[in-house]
């Protein structure tokens, strides 16, 4: 039967126009070849070939289908049409499936060719179902084609109006905060006992002039200074020592990290 159908397919021709419509199958073999671009892949081609068997997709003969597909690929090659690789992969797989199906049962491997054939059939059924569903969907009454909405609706407009809310408390507090925030700010700096860098420089250089020995930094500080003045004097004296070392009037030594700093005059 499939043989006959194939013969019939060879004889008729044309009908390319059908290709525009989803779900339709070409009724001419020539069209089949010429419309290669129209296929959505090998499964799609298989589905159309299966449909040619004019039976339910659950009752198709997989062997016949394989033959049809392989025949199609052969013809395409004979016509020197370039087939996409996935068509050839499908052809190879179908050829393998066919030979497995023809082998005696006990030589079959896992998965069995029957399982593979059934799975192929299930896939075709699913694709067929979706193609049919798509056609039925497209045939529904569609807005803008079959049914129409109101041509020029007046449109609904909703104006949002804000009811602002503020209470007396917030108003008065807001004003108070503005006044407080913008009140002139007075900065007070307390008078602190400090030793300036200048006086430290004087003090250190004059004390260095007295001797050629090493003198510890602490010894430059005023003996009875209160702690805050002492801290300031230490900082200023240290900077003064660095300054004197920089201009070559003194040298600084420290034996260990955080150890006492010592100073000595350099005799020019």
């Amino acid at each position: 039967m499939s043989e006959q159908e194939l013969m019939f397919m060879q004889e008729s021709s044309g009908a390319d126009a059908d290709w525009i419509n989803p779900g339709s199958a070409p009724d001419g073999d020539t069209a089949l070849y010429l419309e290669l671009d129209g296929w959505e892949g090998p499964l799609d081609l298989l589905l159309d070939l299966a449909r040619r068997q004019k039976v339910d997709l659950r009752a198709i003969s997989i062997l016949a289908l394989v033959d049809q597909y392989l025949d199609y690929v052969d013809r395409a090659e004979a016509l020197r049409l370039e087939l996409a690789a996935d068509y050839l992969v499908m052809a190879a797989w179908l050829a393998y499936l066919k030979s497995s199906l023809l082998l005696p049962k006990d030589e079959q491997e896992d998965p069995s060719p029957e399982e593979l054939a059934l799975r192929l059939q299930l896939r075709l059924q699913r694709l067929g179902a979706m193609r049919e569903a798509a056609a039925r969907l497209m045939a529904r009454n569609r807005i803008g084609r079959d049914v129409f909405l109101r041509g020029k609706p007046e449109g609904l407009r909703i104006d949002r109006q804000t009811q602002w809310q503020c209470d007396w408390y917030a108003l008065v507090q807001g004003y108070g905060q503005v006044k407080v925030r913008t009140a002139p700010v007075v900065h007070m700096v307390r008078n602190r006992p400090v030793m300036t860098l200048e006086s430290a420089l004087d003090r250190v250089s004059s004390m260095l002039g007295v001797t050629l020995d090493w003198i510890a930094l602490e010894e430059f500080l005023p003996a009875y200074a209160e702690p805050r003045l002492r801290r300031s004097a230490l900082a200023s004296s240290f900077v003064a020592a660095l300054e004197l070392a920089r201009i070559g009037k003194a040298e600084i030594a420290q034996d260990s990290i955080f150890g006492p700093l010592r100073l000595r005059r350099i005799v020019p």
Binding site: E40, L122, M130, G144, L149, L156
Partner: protein
């Protein structure tokens, strides 16, 4: 048969939906009509729909949103030049059907049904038409994007809900919406042999060809 004293709420609902530029849900109608009672609005909608049923204009519900549209049987009078509805390519048509019947569905799942890779542009066309939306990601390795249909899709194709998709009940009952693996296992489990289960698809297929 519309009553001579069409009641006030019914008139208000009628006028509002006539004037609306978008389909409206019951809640939106209620809010627009000054927090009217939802049940009363539903009642008015049902009355209006019945009133308009034999007329040239119908009141329809799509995805819980209501709008007026012309009666489908008058399409032949009103059909305009086809530019209003762009034709979908065959690939896009199939992808749309697969998304609608299987949603939510990933691109890989679409491709496994079609047995062919889906061009990026095909999904873009459907997204742009506002018929398909990205519905999230599947929580499997790779977290693929999954697609679903939109209210606009149901609107455009005149479907009250996805339950209205043509033939979806039969497809589900016959397992044609299940993955091949599940269908195979089911077949192997249920019946010993190769005889497939009963189904009602044959006629439909014949009609198509």
């Amino acid at each position: 048969m519309s009553g001579r004293e069409t009641d006030a709420l019914q008139r208000a609902v009628e006028a509002t939906l006539f004037a609306a530029e978008q389909p409206m849900r019951v809640e939106a109608l209620a809010a627009h009509l000054g927090d009217a009672d939802s049940a009363a609005i539903r009642h008015a909608l049902a009355n209006l729909a019945a009133h308009y049923a034999p007329r040239g204009v119908h009141l329809v519900e799509r995805d819980k949103r209501w709008h007026f549209e012309t009666a489908p049987d008058l399409a032949y009078l009103l059909r305009r030049t086809s530019e209003h509805v762009r034709r979908l390519s065959r690939a896009a048509t199939e992808v749309l059907a697969i998304i609608a019947y299987h949603e939510p569905v990933s691109r890989a799942e679409i491709e496994s049904i079609r047995g062919v890779q889906t061009a990026k542009g095909t999904l873009d066309v459907l997204l742009e038409a506002d018929w398909v939306r990205i519905a999230g990601r599947r929580e499997v390795p790779g977290r693929p994007v999954i697609y679903a249909t939109t209210p606009e899709f149901l609107d455009h194709f005149g479907l009250a809900s996805r339950k209205d998709l043509p033939g979806i009940d039969e497809l589900r009952a016959t397992g044609l919406l299940d993955p091949v693996d599940d269908a195979y296992d089911a077949l192997m489990g249920e019946n010993s042999g190769d005889a497939p289960a009963e189904h009602g698809d044959i006629d439909e297929y014949d009609q198509i060809d």
